[in-house]
Amino acid sequence: MRVSENVGESAEPWSFVGTGDGTDEFHILRAVAEKYNGTCSLWFPKSPLGKKTGLTVLDSINTVININPKISTFLFLIDREHIVQGMNRRSGDKLDNSDIKGMIEDRLSNKHIKIIKIDDNTPEGAFIIKGKLGSRVLQIYVIIQGIDLKIEEEISKLIKLEKDITIPPEKEHIRDFFKETFHRKSIGQGTAKLIAGTSKNNLRMSFPGLTFILNVIENHCSKNN
């Protein structure tokens, strides 16, 4: 499956990708998606600014549809910590799928998107939503990254599985590891290099939400082509 910053004029269907967590996600998503077949492409027009946001990323759906009404599939990547931030929760309280589901429903309905169905049969942090905006039917995938808080936990798990090294799931430790291993400090690019030589099975164990959703998109595309 292809992830591109530019949308082409080919007939292949494009899904819009937005993220609430900066610029590392582009490299990680592209590396994971390469492991999947499928005639769909993911359009990730990433900004160089890298804002840390939470579920507000969902607000972009209406704007993207205004720009091109043919885009009806959306994939959003959000770090769990950015959903927790700003909420009146004790530290250590983990948001479960039903909490996040309610928050997604609220966010979408604020933007006049009517939810037709939210798939219940998904792993922790993965949401498949069928919605309607006016007469348009939308397929929305939301991935909440991080086991407890953030994507660095998933990256740390992959490092453990692939290299049998325990790295604390903090940016600075992961950066140091990539600097030493790949001579790159960028978490996005380092993770992409690690993913390139990783089995699908280890990917599934490290990034359960992302791999589950990419699998669904892959199946969805092959059915429609």
Binding site: E5, N6, V7, E9, W14, F16, G18, T19, G20, D21, G22, T23, E25, W43, P45, K46, S47, P48, L49, G50, K51, T53, T56, V57, D59, S60, N62, T63, V64, N66, I67, N68, K70, I71, F76
Partner: protein, 326 residues
């Protein structure tokens, strides 16, 4: 001036634009984004040719049509495919005005489909004297030749600028964007200079040419706009040579004045800074522009809220133009 001065423009066979898919609606403050060669500069030039392509520009010291022609390979380059006629339709204060440009450089203007005495008619519509019609708009292309001409012009109106205090206001503005402190912009034997005070109180004059390009450009343009207060400011490659601090300050300054603004940019900094500028949501739009294979211009208007939503999704609005009209 409440709202937009030119509220709509339609362009046919002008420069690289074959046609517009639909007339382009303008707000009071407009920011054009799009890839290179997507029609942004052409749209600014088309707006500048209103109400008369042959209108003399004292600032540039030449006809507007020649000024635009000199930015390219000549006046014949203003017509799509170098032959035939270009046509622009404008909606100004609910009056439809049409301009036709022939590839030999001749032109016609009409209002309400009637060929009329345009200066007289436009002055009536706009309630300004015929003498002031040439100050309707100022076009700021991204080229040094034009900037040098504008610098020469403001030197010729030195007394008016000093009397109005614009030279001090501009110095105060520049101070917000640099680490030095200037007291005023003034004219010395060496030309346009900025005056600063040394710790012992003695003055030091720095020639404008010796300041960075961004500050030089900003100073000349601001003095010019302060002196003329046009109805519409047309600014190409707005961000050219500007640090984000200068971009922010200029956007704020432009937004507080009583004129319509149409500027083009490739800079994410401009879009980012727009989110913090105090302009009424109805007065600000970002126009995403794209030219299709047949040179039809398509556009989509984003509100400030749309821009905010896209930025929050870490999506780059400049890249979203790819999807226009696909």
């Amino acid at each position: 001036m409440a709202g937009a001065f030119i509220s709509e423009i339609d362009v046919k066979e002008f420069r690289g634009i074959k046609r517009c898919k639909e007339p382009i609606k303008l707000s009071k403050f407009n920011v054009l984004i799009g890839k290179n060669n997507s029609g942004k500069s052409s749209l600014l030039e088309a707006l500048y040719l209103f109400p008369l392509p042959r209108l003399h520009s004292t600032i540039y010291r030449g006809d507007r049509i020649n000024q635009i022609g000199e930015c390219h390979s000549g006046t014949d380059s203003l017509v799509y495919g170098y032959s035939g006629n270009a046509e622009m339709k404008y909606n100004v204060n609910e009056y439809p005005c049409i301009i036709e440009i022939m590839s030999d450089g001749t032109s016609n203007s009409s209002v309400n489909d009637e060929e009329v005495d345009i200066p007289k008619h436009v002055s009536k519509i706009l309630k300004i004297s015929e003498r002031n019609i040439e100050n309707i708009s100022i076009y700021i292309p991204n080229d040094t030749k034009t900037l040098d001409r504008y610098a020469e012009y403001i030197s010729s109106i030195e007394n008016e600028i000093v009397k109005s205090g614009a030279n001090k206001r501009v110095a105060e503005f520049v101070n917000q964007c640099i680490d030095e402190k200037y007291t005023e912009v003034l004219w010395t034997r060496e030309g346009l200079s900025c005056r600063k005070e040394r710790p012992d109180g003695s003055p030091l004059y720095i020639k404008l040419d010796d300041l960075g390009d961004g500050i030089k450009r900003a100073t000349i343009i601001m003095l010019l706009l302060e002196a003329h207060s046009p109805h519409i400011v047309l600014w190409d490659d707005f961000e050219s040579a500007s640090h984000p601090t200068l971009i922010r300050a200029q956007l704020e300054w432009l937004s507080k004045k009583d004129w319509q603004v149409v500027l083009s940019t490739h800079s994410i900094d401009v879009l980012y800074q727009l989110l913090d500028i105090e302009i009424g949501p109805a007065d600000l739009q970002i126009l995403q522009m794209r030219k299709l294979n047949d040179d039809t211009l398509v556009y989509e208007s984003l509100t400030i809220d749309d821009l905010d939503d896209l930025m929050n999704a870490n999506a780059d609005p400049r890249r979203l133009v790819d999807a226009l009209g696909v």
